[in-house]
Symmetry: C2
């Protein structure tokens, strides 16, 4: 791409750029960009229109956003932070300090007991054929798995569904590894739907295989990518181990099984579940000026899987949630309703934090207007998905034109979020809202060693926090 004159003219910015840039350089405290659709000067006392308010939020995020630097710290200085780990505790302290620094009205912790599963130092998988030399393949224990208690060596039976497993004779399963190898349906446009169509293998594979007398479950990694990264993730507790194979390893094992159905697999996992540990949700609050008892929650989860840095899952949701409140404050917005940024603990393997947050909300007889969760990565915004009745959905969808300049205007029915889910029964908020971003790359890195800071783009991340702040602005101003 080169600078054609037609591009310069088409964007209309050849001449308009200079004043905008001057403002950037001056670091004016609040400034509307040259592209603001309705950023014409306003009389000082006149109330700003919603479109101008949103433009201010996005300007603040893009010019002075803090999410990216916060995420750099969380991922780089703390890193992986599975529930019960010392790093999870460091993350709690970091979250609290970050919110205190942002001068929210109130910052506090909610105590919650969480599972404490530890991977251990040894993880080894090997395909053992008739020949002497085995083929080492990338494996990782699934979260919650028991260890193998030394080397576990057995034959392998490949299946693609629980029905297929059910129809196998006992002799074909007993004493073997059950290898769940159903791939993502790549034809689905939403990778989350492909995940939803495959993940039962990871979640329930070991439990189902155990019922049939298998020695362990091997599960194809939850991704469309073909690579050497095994993807961990939680599984329902079972008496036998569960491990993920990278997709390349799964393809290789499947191919070798066709040539030699009698080949064996050797697995060694040292993972173990320790006693529950004390941990915390981190909560920061800005008190509503008009309806302080009506609460709007925005959150992500602070815990992460242990293989990488928990960048897109879900460091991004944490820093965006804190940033959303900071953006509103920085742009001079005084919320009518009470806003809460919540860093939930233990989403990945127990959802204890979300459950406790909802339990306390009910116990304290709180009124919750809406809750927003960001747990699909820190990619370019698309919009929001709502669990709400038709009238509420219609009301929120009417705001779509305000989000159009930011490409965040897809407002549809859909999943809210795992952490905010328990609020539904507990306090009946009008809407549970999932922040929706472009997720085509998400399952390349999800739950793997590749979920690192360098995969996050600063602008995509900050645009997401701004989109969430913009929705909170409207929810606070107009209610539901």
């Amino acid at each position: 791409m080169r600078p054609s004159l037609s591009l310069l003219l088409a964007t209309g910015l050849l001449l308009a750029a200079a004043p905008g840039q001057a403002q950037v350089r001056k670091k004016a405290k609040t400034k509307a960009s040259t592209a603001a659709p309705a950023a014409a000067p306003q009389a000082a006392a006149a109330p700003v229109s919603d479109s101008v308010a949103l433009r201010k939020i996005f300007d603040e995020a893009l010019l002075r956003g803090e999410s990216y630097d916060n995420l750099r710290y969380l991922t780089g200085n703390i890193g992986a932070r599975l529930s019960g780990s010392p790093q999870a505790q460091m993350a709690v302290e970091w979250g609290k300090a970050t919110m205190e620094k942002a001068k929210f009205d109130r910052v506090y912790l909610q105590e919650v007991m969480v599972p404490h599963w530890v991977r251990g130092s040894k993880e080894r998988g090997e395909i053992v054929g008739n020949k002497d030399k085995g083929i080492k393949v990338p494996v990782c224990a699934l979260g919650g798995s028991v260890g193998t208690g030394g080397k576990l060596k057995a034959g392998v039976v490949e299946v693609h569904s629980f029905d297929e497993l059910k129809n196998l004779p006992d002799a074909a399963v007993k004493g073997k590894f059950v290898f769940f190898n159903r791939p993502f349906n790549d034809a689905l446009i939403e990778p989350g739907a492909a995940y939803g169509g495959a993940v039962e293998q990871r979640a329930l594979g070991a439990a189902e295989a155990a019922k049939r007398g298998a020695v362990a479950a091997l599960v194809r990694s939850m991704t469309s990518a073909r690579d050497d990264n095994p993807h961990t993730g939680t599984m329902r507790p079972a008496t036998i181990p569960g491990a993920a194979l990278s997709t390349n390893a799964a393809d290789q094992l499947s191919q070798l099984l066709k040539a030699n159905p009698d080949l064996q697999f050797e697995l060694e996992l040292e993972c173990v579940t320790l006693p529950d540990e004390k941990s915390y949700n981190v909560v920061g609050e800005i008190r509503g000026s008009k309806y302080p008892n009506e609460i709007i929650t925005v959150g992500g989860h602070l815990d992460s899987w242990d293989l990488a840095q928990g960048a897109h899952d879900d460091g991004t949701g944490c820093v965006q949630s804190m940033e959303a409140l900071r953006l509103l404050r920085a742009t001079g917005f005084r919320p009518e309703r009470t806003l809460r940024a919540v860093l939930f603990m233990n989403e990945e393997n127990g959802a204890r934090g979300g459950t406790e947050y909802a339990r306390l909300a009910a116990e304290n007889k709180e009124t919750h207007v809406a809750a927003i969760e960001s747990d699909g990565g820190g990619f370019t915004p698309r919009g929001f998905t709502l669990e709400a009745d038709a009238a509420t959905l219609a009301k929120v969808a009417k705001w779509a034109p305000l989000f159009r300049p930011y490409h965040a205007d897809e407002i549809t029915a859909g999943h809210g979020g795992t952490d905010i889910g328990p609020l539904k029964e507990a306090v009946h908020p009008k809407a549970l809202i999932g922040y929706k971003c472009d997720s085509q790359r998400y399952f390349d890195i999800h739950h793997t060693a590749a979920d690192t800071f360098d995969k996050v783009n600063r602008r995509e991340l900050e645009l997401g926090g701004a989109s969430m702040a913009a929705l909170i602005y409207l929810l606070s101003k107009y209610g539901l």
Copy 2:
């Protein structure tokens, strides 16, 4: 993110996944995904609806797409391919062979003379202060620059606009480096608009500085990112050299200049312009069944800058253009109008290929319905931008609902493309159409050493080719 039951239920795929997967495994020749909005079985002889036809195109792209492997070859086995280089010639031969393998009705080359600029082996920039030890900084020559003829050492004057340069007294400029340091306006939502607002510095900086007696132009790299990658790109021929500084280096130089306005900069570039070379556009054609004389062009540019592999700029546009025609053929579509995939030569520093394509079209009195260009990277689709009259734009925009399931439904007025641009005056097509994708990451890598294959996501790339094929399907079927 973990598999909540509510997610599984929300996606509605817990039970629906198995049959879809079975189809995937069987590699059925053409199959509609389980998510197809209108993929109900049709009577064999009934004409398929447009939505079903589009769904088939996307299925083919996502399940059996060839763009990604083609791009892997182009970037990995040929790599950088600046006009006039031996690699550009290899790319021509690869493009022709790839189209022949795809069995297009006709594959041919269009000869065109192109510039041949060579970077040379030495590129060195150093900030020299009062102290003995200089600070080496990342620089690269701008495309078309003259060399420095050995070491060039001089003072530096920083400006942010041509107006600022104009207002400087001669003594402040003469014999110095002019350092153009206006950053991107990060508040703009479209990075392309920020590029449009800054790139005159790169394009015209050296020419403007030369008029004032400067020794060379130093230009801040064209990106929002803060990193150590200098961004090359074309500049208007000038009597003095032009070089890009990485944004970190530009920030550092600016800061040091504030402390010491008398510091000096030392630049060494060995670049040189050689005589023009013979090169080619590569053209592949599928002949229209009903209106063979009405042509629809789809293209990207085959040349790339010399610092990396030309992956997103514009290997992706090349493989998508070829893939668009392959997808239509693979899904059994017999086009009414003639389709041409064109790999244009020399977009980056001359646009000679696009100019020659248009000249030949006029000479041959061809009728061109529309031309589509993909030159904004291979990222997730958003839609299309049109240079067309209001009625034509309205007609195309009416197709938006067909693109909605694929998130490619933003159909607006906007830039077509550099290579297809010359068609406008030459043969007056009804529409010049730019393929629009999510571009937040584009200028992190654009024209740098980081524009490599690993930055491209398979699904994002294939979705783009499918979007282009879908538009061609509609253009061919309905005309404009």
